[in-house]
Symmetry: C2
Subunit: 139 residues, 2 copies
């Protein structure tokens, strides 16, 4: 029950929040910008303001329902936290995004933080490259 997730976050169960959560769950794209969410809602004839989309996504992030990533290009993308954490591989040509999890890296990160006197709370790992598509390989 999604509405419970919203409630658990200390937020009222309102139409915008329900619709945005639904959209994130049903979206084919995992990584959406606030603008994407806004446009998708418009397409579904949901009259939800862009400011509300930003507010709700930020609240969902604070509640741990959603993760925000700062991509190249200077904007953020959001994705639903489906339990499993993962990192990203991004094609620098076509923008295709793939996800991965690697326990070796996950473990080393925590160790590195400790070695530097830090207590890790989060991390962001994005690998940029050329994907398999021949069109994405430079001469």
């Amino acid at each position: 029950m999604d509405n419970q997730d919203i409630r658990k976050a200390g937020l009222k169960v309102t139409l915008p929040r329900v619709k945005i959560l639904e959209l994130l769950e049903n979206s084919t794209q995992r990584h959406v910008s606030a603008e994407d969410v806004y446009k998708m809602l418009i397409d579904k004839d949901e009259e939800i303001g862009l400011a509300t989309v930003y507010r709700v996504l930020t609240q969902f992030e604070a509640a741990g329902l959603v993760t925000r990533q700062n991509f190249e290009g200077g904007y953020a993308v959001f994705e639903l936290d489906r339990g499993g954490h993962h990192d990203h591989l991004v094609c620098v040509v076509c923008g295709k995004v793939e996800e991965f999890v690697d326990t070796t890296i996950e473990k080393r990160q925590r160790e590195i933080a400790n070695e530097h006197g830090f207590e890790m709370v989060d991390h962001s790992l994005i690998i940029y490259g050329h994907c398999g598509n021949p069109k994405c390989h430079v001469g």
Copy 2:
């Protein structure tokens, strides 16, 4: 000779470019935003426009002299590429940045990219946490 670096990048050796490169070399802060660079130049009575700062930093990035990182907060920071590549540890409370290199992670990243059919060209790893400073530890 720094001016050679500028020349090698196919750029004219102009006062703004020389001053910005100098500043990056002599800055105590390794990670500076375009705004930071602009303000530092103002402090040195160098009348260089903000637009030029952005232009030059972008050109330096393209030339491989400088690296751009998209930090949380929706802005980018730049740092001089002093040969050695490294990743970042950021304190989520005070903003302190430390650098590290870990060969285990570097190697795994390349392997992961290949496993996914990608050819890695770059990556960005930022570990967020609480640094050693007691003030930066939440109750």
